[in-house]
Amino acid sequence: MDIEKHKPTSDKGFFENLKPVTIPFEEGILQTLKAGDLISLTGVLFTGRDQTHRRLVALLDEGRDLPVNLQGQLLYYVGPSPAKEGQVIGAAGPTTSYRMDAYTPRLLELGLKGTLGKGSRSMPVREAMIKHGAVYFATVGGAGALLSKSIIKSELVAFEDAGPEALFRFEVENFPAVVINDLEGNDYYEMVTAERLGVKYEKTI
Protein backbone atom coordinates (compact mmCIF):
# COMPACT_ATOMS: atom_id res chain seq x y z
CA MET A 1 0.00 0.00 0.00
CA ASP A 2 1.11 3.55 -0.72
CA ILE A 3 1.30 4.81 2.85
CA GLU A 4 2.24 8.37 1.81
CA LYS A 5 -0.73 8.69 -0.51
CA HIS A 6 -3.02 7.35 2.15
CA LYS A 7 -1.70 9.53 4.90
CA PRO A 8 -4.34 10.89 7.25
CA THR A 9 -4.87 14.66 7.14
CA SER A 10 -4.07 14.76 10.84
CA ASP A 11 -2.06 12.33 12.95
CA LYS A 12 -4.65 12.49 15.67
CA GLY A 13 -7.80 12.71 13.60
CA PHE A 14 -10.73 11.63 15.65
CA PHE A 15 -8.69 11.65 18.82
CA GLU A 16 -8.46 15.44 19.06
CA ASN A 17 -10.44 17.60 21.47
CA LEU A 18 -12.21 14.75 23.19
CA LYS A 19 -13.81 15.10 26.58
CA PRO A 20 -12.18 12.61 28.99
CA VAL A 21 -14.54 10.19 30.73
CA THR A 22 -13.42 7.65 33.34
CA ILE A 23 -15.09 4.21 33.54
CA PRO A 24 -16.71 2.76 35.62
CA PHE A 25 -18.58 6.07 35.63
CA GLU A 26 -17.96 8.50 38.44
CA GLU A 27 -20.89 10.04 40.30
CA GLY A 28 -22.32 13.00 38.38
CA ILE A 29 -20.35 12.55 35.15
CA LEU A 30 -23.26 11.23 33.05
CA GLN A 31 -25.26 14.43 33.64
CA THR A 32 -22.49 16.41 31.91
CA LEU A 33 -22.59 14.34 28.69
CA LYS A 34 -24.71 15.63 25.83
CA ALA A 35 -25.72 13.92 22.59
CA GLY A 36 -23.06 14.74 19.99
CA ASP A 37 -20.20 15.14 22.50
CA LEU A 38 -16.93 13.52 21.47
CA ILE A 39 -15.48 11.63 24.39
CA SER A 40 -12.42 9.63 25.27
CA LEU A 41 -12.94 6.67 27.59
CA THR A 42 -10.30 5.51 30.06
CA GLY A 43 -10.66 2.74 32.62
CA VAL A 44 -12.35 -0.65 32.79
CA LEU A 45 -15.27 -1.99 30.74
CA PHE A 46 -16.88 -5.34 29.99
CA THR A 47 -17.69 -6.73 26.56
CA GLY A 48 -20.65 -8.66 25.25
CA ARG A 49 -22.61 -9.28 22.08
CA ASP A 50 -25.50 -11.53 20.99
CA GLN A 51 -24.77 -14.82 22.79
CA THR A 52 -23.25 -13.06 25.81
CA HIS A 53 -26.50 -11.18 26.29
CA ARG A 54 -28.61 -14.26 25.73
CA ARG A 55 -26.66 -16.09 28.41
CA LEU A 56 -26.67 -13.22 30.91
CA VAL A 57 -30.43 -12.87 30.64
CA ALA A 58 -30.86 -16.67 30.85
CA LEU A 59 -28.93 -16.60 34.15
CA LEU A 60 -31.22 -13.85 35.42
CA ASP A 61 -34.28 -15.87 34.37
CA GLU A 62 -32.97 -18.80 36.37
CA GLY A 63 -32.44 -16.55 39.38
CA ARG A 64 -28.67 -17.06 39.31
CA ASP A 65 -25.83 -14.59 39.83
CA LEU A 66 -24.08 -13.03 36.85
CA PRO A 67 -20.33 -13.56 36.40
CA VAL A 68 -19.86 -9.77 36.65
CA ASN A 69 -21.37 -6.95 38.67
CA LEU A 70 -22.67 -4.48 36.09
CA GLN A 71 -23.40 -1.71 38.60
CA GLY A 72 -22.07 1.59 37.23
CA GLN A 73 -20.35 -0.19 34.34
CA LEU A 74 -20.03 0.31 30.59
CA LEU A 75 -20.78 -2.64 28.28
CA TYR A 76 -19.01 -2.62 24.91
CA TYR A 77 -20.68 -4.52 22.06
CA VAL A 78 -17.70 -6.23 20.47
CA GLY A 79 -16.58 -9.66 19.35
CA PRO A 80 -12.83 -9.22 18.92
CA SER A 81 -10.64 -11.17 16.53
CA PRO A 82 -8.05 -13.37 18.31
CA ALA A 83 -4.80 -11.85 19.58
CA LYS A 84 -1.52 -12.90 18.00
CA GLU A 85 1.54 -13.52 20.15
CA GLY A 86 2.49 -10.21 21.75
CA GLN A 87 -0.83 -8.49 21.07
CA VAL A 88 -3.32 -7.46 23.76
CA ILE A 89 -6.23 -8.23 21.45
CA GLY A 90 -6.95 -8.51 17.73
CA ALA A 91 -9.21 -6.09 15.88
CA ALA A 92 -11.88 -4.85 18.30
CA GLY A 93 -14.33 -2.37 16.80
CA PRO A 94 -18.03 -2.07 17.64
CA THR A 95 -20.81 -4.36 16.46
CA THR A 96 -24.34 -3.16 15.61
CA SER A 97 -26.24 -2.39 18.81
CA TYR A 98 -29.91 -3.00 17.91
CA ARG A 99 -29.39 -6.75 18.19
CA MET A 100 -28.86 -6.28 21.92
CA ASP A 101 -32.06 -4.20 22.32
CA ALA A 102 -34.13 -7.22 23.36
CA TYR A 103 -31.85 -7.75 26.38
CA THR A 104 -30.65 -4.26 27.33
CA PRO A 105 -33.53 -3.14 29.61
CA ARG A 106 -32.95 -6.17 31.86
CA LEU A 107 -29.29 -5.23 32.29
CA LEU A 108 -30.10 -1.56 32.89
CA GLU A 109 -32.31 -2.69 35.79
CA LEU A 110 -29.14 -4.11 37.37
CA GLY A 111 -27.44 -0.73 37.33
CA LEU A 112 -25.59 -0.88 34.00
CA LYS A 113 -24.96 2.79 33.22
CA GLY A 114 -23.73 2.80 29.66
CA THR A 115 -23.48 0.85 26.43
CA LEU A 116 -21.11 1.32 23.49
CA GLY A 117 -21.64 0.07 19.93
CA LYS A 118 -22.81 1.48 16.62
CA GLY A 119 -26.20 2.29 15.16
CA SER A 120 -29.43 3.43 16.75
CA ARG A 121 -31.40 1.95 19.68
CA SER A 122 -35.06 1.04 19.95
CA MET A 123 -37.59 3.23 21.75
CA PRO A 124 -38.00 0.70 24.62
CA VAL A 125 -34.23 0.81 25.20
CA ARG A 126 -34.20 4.60 25.08
CA GLU A 127 -37.05 4.73 27.58
CA ALA A 128 -35.26 2.27 29.85
CA MET A 129 -32.06 4.33 29.61
CA ILE A 130 -33.91 7.45 30.78
CA LYS A 131 -35.63 5.51 33.56
CA HIS A 132 -32.37 4.04 34.85
CA GLY A 133 -30.12 7.02 34.14
CA ALA A 134 -27.95 5.39 31.48
CA VAL A 135 -26.30 6.62 28.27
CA TYR A 136 -25.41 5.14 24.89
CA PHE A 137 -22.23 5.79 22.93
CA ALA A 138 -21.16 4.87 19.39
CA THR A 139 -17.71 4.58 17.95
CA VAL A 140 -16.37 4.12 14.43
CA GLY A 141 -17.33 0.77 12.92
CA GLY A 142 -14.80 -0.94 10.68
CA ALA A 143 -11.84 0.64 12.47
CA GLY A 144 -11.05 -2.43 14.57
CA ALA A 145 -7.29 -2.37 14.01
CA LEU A 146 -6.98 1.25 15.12
CA LEU A 147 -9.38 0.91 18.07
CA SER A 148 -7.45 -2.12 19.34
CA LYS A 149 -4.58 0.28 20.08
CA SER A 150 -6.72 1.89 22.81
CA ILE A 151 -7.17 -1.44 24.60
CA ILE A 152 -4.25 -1.95 26.94
CA LYS A 153 -5.35 -5.10 28.74
CA SER A 154 -7.79 -7.90 27.99
CA GLU A 155 -8.95 -10.67 30.27
CA LEU A 156 -11.47 -13.44 29.71
CA VAL A 157 -14.22 -13.37 32.35
CA ALA A 158 -16.91 -15.85 31.26
CA PHE A 159 -18.47 -17.93 28.48
CA GLU A 160 -15.15 -19.01 26.94
CA ASP A 161 -16.92 -21.62 24.80
CA ALA A 162 -18.78 -18.82 22.98
CA GLY A 163 -15.52 -17.92 21.22
CA PRO A 164 -15.63 -14.29 20.05
CA GLU A 165 -18.88 -13.89 21.99
CA ALA A 166 -17.20 -14.54 25.35
CA LEU A 167 -17.37 -11.89 28.05
CA PHE A 168 -14.09 -10.00 28.37
CA ARG A 169 -12.84 -7.34 30.74
CA PHE A 170 -10.92 -4.63 28.88
CA GLU A 171 -8.75 -1.87 30.23
CA VAL A 172 -8.95 1.01 27.79
CA GLU A 173 -7.04 4.24 27.40
CA ASN A 174 -8.33 7.18 25.38
CA PHE A 175 -10.90 5.09 23.57
CA PRO A 176 -12.83 7.50 21.28
CA ALA A 177 -16.63 7.60 21.10
CA VAL A 178 -19.60 9.86 20.39
CA VAL A 179 -22.51 10.34 22.81
CA ILE A 180 -25.64 9.20 20.96
CA ASN A 181 -28.26 9.08 23.72
CA ASP A 182 -27.88 11.31 26.77
CA LEU A 183 -29.77 11.34 30.05
CA GLU A 184 -32.25 13.93 28.76
CA GLY A 185 -33.45 11.65 25.96
CA ASN A 186 -31.65 13.41 23.10
CA ASP A 187 -30.57 11.23 20.16
CA TYR A 188 -27.60 12.32 18.06
CA TYR A 189 -28.75 10.46 14.92
CA GLU A 190 -32.07 12.30 15.10
CA MET A 191 -30.23 15.58 15.64
CA VAL A 192 -28.24 14.94 12.44
CA THR A 193 -31.49 14.22 10.59
CA ALA A 194 -33.11 17.43 11.85
CA GLU A 195 -30.07 19.45 10.77
CA ARG A 196 -30.14 17.88 7.31
CA LEU A 197 -33.85 18.65 6.92
CA GLY A 198 -33.29 22.18 8.21
CA VAL A 199 -35.87 21.76 10.97
CA LYS A 200 -35.58 22.46 14.68
CA TYR A 201 -34.56 19.35 16.60
CA GLU A 202 -37.25 18.06 18.89
CA LYS A 203 -36.95 15.07 21.16
CA THR A 204 -38.99 12.06 20.04
CA ILE A 205 -39.11 10.66 23.54
Partner: protein, 278 residues
Protein backbone atom coordinates in the same frame (compact mmCIF):
# COMPACT_ATOMS: atom_id res chain seq x y z
CA UNK B 1 -7.47 -30.09 -20.53
CA UNK B 2 -5.71 -28.44 -17.61
CA UNK B 3 -5.35 -30.22 -14.28
CA UNK B 4 -5.48 -28.29 -11.01
CA UNK B 5 -4.61 -30.05 -7.77
CA UNK B 6 -7.02 -29.55 -4.88
CA UNK B 7 -4.01 -28.67 -2.70
CA UNK B 8 -3.32 -25.67 -4.98
CA UNK B 9 -6.89 -24.53 -4.49
CA UNK B 10 -6.62 -24.87 -0.70
CA UNK B 11 -3.39 -22.85 -0.68
CA UNK B 12 -4.90 -20.14 -2.89
CA UNK B 13 -8.06 -19.80 -0.78
CA UNK B 14 -6.03 -19.70 2.43
CA UNK B 15 -3.92 -16.87 1.04
CA UNK B 16 -7.01 -14.99 -0.18
CA UNK B 17 -8.69 -15.28 3.22
CA UNK B 18 -5.66 -14.00 5.11
CA UNK B 19 -4.78 -11.09 2.83
CA UNK B 20 -8.36 -9.98 2.19
CA UNK B 21 -8.94 -9.39 5.90
CA UNK B 22 -5.86 -7.22 6.50
CA UNK B 23 -5.09 -5.50 3.19
CA UNK B 24 -7.84 -3.37 1.69
CA UNK B 25 -7.76 -3.30 -2.10
CA UNK B 26 -6.64 -0.02 -3.73
CA UNK B 27 -10.11 0.63 -5.18
CA UNK B 28 -11.60 0.79 -1.68
CA UNK B 29 -8.83 2.96 -0.29
CA UNK B 30 -9.16 5.35 -3.22
CA UNK B 31 -12.91 5.57 -2.65
CA UNK B 32 -12.43 6.30 1.07
CA UNK B 33 -9.86 8.99 0.23
CA UNK B 34 -12.17 10.52 -2.36
CA UNK B 35 -14.98 10.51 0.20
CA UNK B 36 -12.73 12.23 2.72
CA UNK B 37 -11.72 14.89 0.24
CA UNK B 38 -15.30 15.85 -0.60
CA UNK B 39 -16.61 15.56 2.98
CA UNK B 40 -17.73 18.78 4.70
CA UNK B 41 -19.01 17.44 8.04
CA UNK B 42 -16.04 17.67 10.46
CA UNK B 43 -17.05 14.57 12.44
CA UNK B 44 -17.57 12.50 9.28
CA UNK B 45 -14.24 13.75 7.90
CA UNK B 46 -12.53 12.72 11.11
CA UNK B 47 -14.10 9.29 10.95
CA UNK B 48 -12.93 8.87 7.33
CA UNK B 49 -9.45 9.91 8.43
CA UNK B 50 -9.64 7.28 11.10
CA UNK B 51 -10.50 4.67 8.45
CA UNK B 52 -7.41 5.64 6.47
CA UNK B 53 -5.25 5.31 9.59
CA UNK B 54 -6.98 2.02 10.37
CA UNK B 55 -6.22 0.63 6.91
CA UNK B 56 -2.56 1.59 7.29
CA UNK B 57 -2.25 -0.08 10.71
CA UNK B 58 -4.09 -3.18 9.49
CA UNK B 59 -1.82 -3.61 6.50
CA UNK B 60 1.41 -2.80 8.33
CA UNK B 61 0.75 -5.01 11.35
CA UNK B 62 -1.47 -7.57 9.62
CA UNK B 63 -4.36 -6.99 12.00
CA UNK B 64 -7.82 -7.43 10.47
CA UNK B 65 -9.27 -4.14 9.17
CA UNK B 66 -12.46 -5.07 11.04
CA UNK B 67 -12.93 -7.71 13.73
CA UNK B 68 -15.87 -9.05 11.75
CA UNK B 69 -13.83 -11.05 9.27
CA UNK B 70 -17.08 -12.35 7.94
CA UNK B 71 -18.67 -15.48 6.68
CA UNK B 72 -16.74 -16.50 3.57
CA UNK B 73 -18.52 -16.07 0.25
CA UNK B 74 -16.58 -17.75 -2.54
CA UNK B 75 -17.29 -17.30 -6.23
CA UNK B 76 -15.72 -20.04 -8.33
CA UNK B 77 -15.68 -19.77 -12.12
CA UNK B 78 -14.39 -23.04 -13.45
CA UNK B 79 -13.38 -23.42 -17.09
CA UNK B 80 -14.91 -26.37 -18.93
CA UNK B 81 -11.39 -27.47 -19.82
CA UNK B 82 -10.23 -27.62 -16.20
CA UNK B 83 -9.98 -30.90 -14.35
CA UNK B 84 -9.77 -30.67 -10.55
CA UNK B 85 -7.80 -33.49 -8.97
CA UNK B 86 -9.56 -34.20 -5.67
CA UNK B 87 -12.60 -32.64 -4.01
CA UNK B 88 -13.13 -29.02 -5.08
CA UNK B 89 -15.65 -28.10 -2.39
CA UNK B 90 -13.57 -29.64 0.41
CA UNK B 91 -10.42 -27.97 -0.94
CA UNK B 92 -12.09 -24.55 -0.68
CA UNK B 93 -13.47 -25.17 2.83
CA UNK B 94 -10.03 -26.39 3.94
CA UNK B 95 -8.48 -23.17 2.62
CA UNK B 96 -10.96 -21.11 4.63
CA UNK B 97 -10.36 -23.20 7.75
CA UNK B 98 -6.57 -22.83 7.46
CA UNK B 99 -6.67 -19.11 6.58
CA UNK B 100 -8.90 -18.22 9.51
CA UNK B 101 -6.82 -20.27 11.95
CA UNK B 102 -3.35 -19.15 10.83
CA UNK B 103 -4.44 -15.56 10.13
CA UNK B 104 -5.92 -15.09 13.64
CA UNK B 105 -9.20 -14.16 11.99
CA UNK B 106 -12.47 -14.26 13.88
CA UNK B 107 -14.56 -17.40 13.59
CA UNK B 108 -18.07 -16.08 13.08
CA UNK B 109 -19.98 -19.03 11.64
CA UNK B 110 -22.58 -20.80 13.76
CA UNK B 111 -25.48 -23.22 13.53
CA UNK B 112 -28.67 -21.24 12.82
CA UNK B 113 -30.75 -23.37 15.22
CA UNK B 114 -28.43 -23.88 18.21
CA UNK B 115 -26.27 -20.77 17.53
CA UNK B 116 -23.26 -22.93 18.39
CA UNK B 117 -20.09 -21.58 16.76
CA UNK B 118 -18.46 -24.10 14.38
CA UNK B 119 -15.13 -22.77 15.67
CA UNK B 120 -13.48 -22.87 12.25
CA UNK B 121 -15.41 -20.31 10.18
CA UNK B 122 -16.47 -23.07 7.84
CA UNK B 123 -18.57 -23.76 5.96
CA UNK B 124 -18.18 -20.84 3.60
CA UNK B 125 -20.94 -20.14 1.07
CA UNK B 126 -19.70 -21.30 -2.33
CA UNK B 127 -21.14 -20.28 -5.70
CA UNK B 128 -19.94 -22.42 -8.58
CA UNK B 129 -20.20 -21.34 -12.20
CA UNK B 130 -19.10 -23.24 -15.28
CA UNK B 131 -17.50 -21.05 -17.97
CA UNK B 132 -15.70 -21.69 -21.28
CA UNK B 133 -11.92 -21.97 -21.27
CA UNK B 134 -9.19 -23.44 -19.09
CA UNK B 135 -8.99 -20.96 -16.21
CA UNK B 136 -10.11 -21.40 -12.64
CA UNK B 137 -11.05 -18.08 -11.02
CA UNK B 138 -11.72 -17.80 -7.32
CA UNK B 139 -13.25 -14.65 -5.86
CA UNK B 140 -13.38 -14.22 -2.10
CA UNK B 141 -15.74 -11.87 -0.27
CA UNK B 142 -15.60 -12.19 3.53
CA UNK B 143 -19.03 -10.78 4.31
CA UNK B 144 -19.53 -8.90 7.55
CA UNK B 145 -23.08 -9.24 8.74
CA UNK B 146 -23.68 -5.80 10.25
CA UNK B 147 -24.18 -4.81 6.62
CA UNK B 148 -25.51 -8.17 5.36
CA UNK B 149 -28.39 -7.91 7.86
CA UNK B 150 -29.56 -4.68 6.21
CA UNK B 151 -30.14 -6.39 2.85
CA UNK B 152 -33.52 -7.10 1.34
CA UNK B 153 -35.44 -8.43 -1.61
CA UNK B 154 -38.78 -7.48 -3.11
CA UNK B 155 -40.85 -8.92 -5.95
CA UNK B 156 -42.22 -5.71 -7.47
CA UNK B 157 -45.07 -5.66 -9.97
CA UNK B 158 -43.74 -4.71 -13.42
CA UNK B 159 -45.91 -1.57 -13.24
CA UNK B 160 -43.55 -0.21 -10.55
CA UNK B 161 -40.92 0.16 -13.27
CA UNK B 162 -37.48 1.64 -12.79
CA UNK B 163 -38.83 4.44 -10.54
CA UNK B 164 -40.14 1.71 -8.21
CA UNK B 165 -36.79 -0.07 -8.28
CA UNK B 166 -34.91 3.12 -7.44
CA UNK B 167 -37.33 3.95 -4.64
CA UNK B 168 -36.91 0.51 -3.06
CA UNK B 169 -33.11 0.67 -3.13
CA UNK B 170 -32.95 4.21 -1.73
CA UNK B 171 -35.44 3.36 1.01
CA UNK B 172 -33.51 0.21 1.94
CA UNK B 173 -30.30 2.19 2.43
CA UNK B 174 -32.17 4.90 4.32
CA UNK B 175 -33.79 2.35 6.65
CA UNK B 176 -30.38 0.78 7.30
CA UNK B 177 -29.25 4.12 8.73
CA UNK B 178 -25.99 3.93 10.62
CA UNK B 179 -26.18 0.16 11.19
CA UNK B 180 -24.21 -1.15 8.18
CA UNK B 181 -21.16 1.12 8.67
CA UNK B 182 -21.66 3.74 5.95
CA UNK B 183 -20.22 4.83 3.55
CA UNK B 184 -21.60 1.63 2.08
CA UNK B 185 -21.38 -0.13 -1.26
CA UNK B 186 -24.84 -1.01 -2.55
CA UNK B 187 -25.15 -4.18 -4.60
CA UNK B 188 -28.38 -4.43 -6.60
CA UNK B 189 -29.68 -7.46 -8.47
CA UNK B 190 -32.48 -6.67 -10.89
CA UNK B 191 -34.47 -9.32 -12.73
CA UNK B 192 -34.22 -13.09 -13.02
CA UNK B 193 -36.04 -14.92 -10.25
CA UNK B 194 -36.13 -14.69 -6.45
CA UNK B 195 -32.76 -16.41 -5.91
CA UNK B 196 -31.14 -15.07 -9.09
CA UNK B 197 -31.72 -11.46 -8.04
CA UNK B 198 -30.05 -12.09 -4.66
CA UNK B 199 -27.04 -13.72 -6.31
CA UNK B 200 -26.71 -10.89 -8.84
CA UNK B 201 -26.71 -8.37 -5.99
CA UNK B 202 -23.98 -10.26 -4.16
CA UNK B 203 -21.93 -10.82 -7.30
CA UNK B 204 -22.09 -7.13 -8.21
CA UNK B 205 -19.98 -6.43 -5.11
CA UNK B 206 -17.05 -8.22 -6.77
CA UNK B 207 -16.90 -5.54 -9.48
CA UNK B 208 -14.00 -3.10 -8.98
CA UNK B 209 -15.48 -0.27 -6.93
CA UNK B 210 -17.22 2.43 -8.90
CA UNK B 211 -16.78 0.79 -12.32
CA UNK B 212 -20.15 1.44 -13.94
CA UNK B 213 -22.25 -1.33 -15.46
CA UNK B 214 -21.14 -1.66 -19.12
CA UNK B 215 -24.75 -1.07 -20.23
CA UNK B 216 -25.11 2.75 -20.30
CA UNK B 217 -28.81 2.53 -19.40
CA UNK B 218 -28.05 0.53 -16.25
CA UNK B 219 -25.06 2.74 -15.44
CA UNK B 220 -27.40 5.74 -15.48
CA UNK B 221 -29.70 4.06 -12.97
CA UNK B 222 -26.70 3.27 -10.74
CA UNK B 223 -25.61 6.90 -10.81
CA UNK B 224 -29.11 8.23 -10.12
CA UNK B 225 -29.54 5.93 -7.11
CA UNK B 226 -26.09 6.90 -5.78
CA UNK B 227 -26.89 10.62 -6.03
CA UNK B 228 -30.23 10.14 -4.28
CA UNK B 229 -28.72 8.10 -1.45
CA UNK B 230 -26.02 10.69 -0.83
CA UNK B 231 -28.55 13.53 -0.85
CA UNK B 232 -30.31 11.80 2.08
CA UNK B 233 -27.37 12.97 4.16
CA UNK B 234 -27.07 10.22 6.76
CA UNK B 235 -23.38 10.12 6.03
CA UNK B 236 -20.42 8.30 7.49
CA UNK B 237 -21.55 6.20 10.49
CA UNK B 238 -24.82 8.17 10.49
CA UNK B 239 -23.00 11.33 11.57
CA UNK B 240 -24.06 13.46 8.63
CA UNK B 241 -22.38 14.70 5.46
CA UNK B 242 -22.38 13.70 1.82
CA UNK B 243 -20.95 10.17 1.95
CA UNK B 244 -23.64 7.61 2.75
CA UNK B 245 -22.64 5.39 -0.18
CA UNK B 246 -19.39 5.08 -2.13
CA UNK B 247 -20.93 3.21 -5.06
CA UNK B 248 -24.02 1.50 -6.40
CA UNK B 249 -23.42 -1.60 -8.50
CA UNK B 250 -26.37 -3.06 -10.38
CA UNK B 251 -26.45 -6.31 -12.31
CA UNK B 252 -29.44 -7.34 -14.40
CA UNK B 253 -30.85 -10.53 -15.90
CA UNK B 254 -33.95 -11.12 -18.01
CA UNK B 255 -37.04 -11.84 -15.93
CA UNK B 256 -40.58 -13.21 -16.30
CA UNK B 257 -43.24 -10.98 -17.91
CA UNK B 258 -45.10 -10.98 -14.56
CA UNK B 259 -42.06 -10.16 -12.42
CA UNK B 260 -39.65 -7.45 -11.35
CA UNK B 261 -37.41 -8.90 -8.62
CA UNK B 262 -35.08 -6.43 -6.87
CA UNK B 263 -32.43 -7.53 -4.38
CA UNK B 264 -30.30 -5.11 -2.37
CA UNK B 265 -27.13 -6.41 -0.74
CA UNK B 266 -25.46 -3.82 1.43
CA UNK B 267 -21.73 -3.89 2.03
CA UNK B 268 -19.82 -1.87 4.63
CA UNK B 269 -16.94 0.50 3.87
CA UNK B 270 -14.50 -2.25 4.92
CA UNK B 271 -15.32 -3.83 1.57
CA UNK B 272 -12.92 -6.73 1.44
CA UNK B 273 -12.81 -8.56 -1.87
CA UNK B 274 -10.03 -10.42 -3.65
CA UNK B 275 -9.72 -12.59 -6.72
CA UNK B 276 -7.16 -15.08 -7.94
CA UNK B 277 -6.72 -17.06 -11.14
CA UNK B 278 -5.24 -20.55 -11.26
Amino acid sequence: MKTVQSSEITAAVKKLAMSASCDLEPDILDAILAARDREKSPLAKNALDMLVTNANIASREQIPVCQDTGIGVVFVSIGQEVFVEGNLEEAIQEGIRAGYADGFLRKSVCDPVTRKNTGTNVPAVIHLEMVPGNMLRIGFLPKGCGSENMSGLVMLPPSAGIPGVEEYVVQKVKDAGSNPCPPVVVGVGLGGTFEKAALLAKRSLMRPLGNPNPDPGVAEIEERILQRINREGQGVMGWGGVNTAMAVHMETYPTHIASLPVAVNIQCHAHRHKEIEL
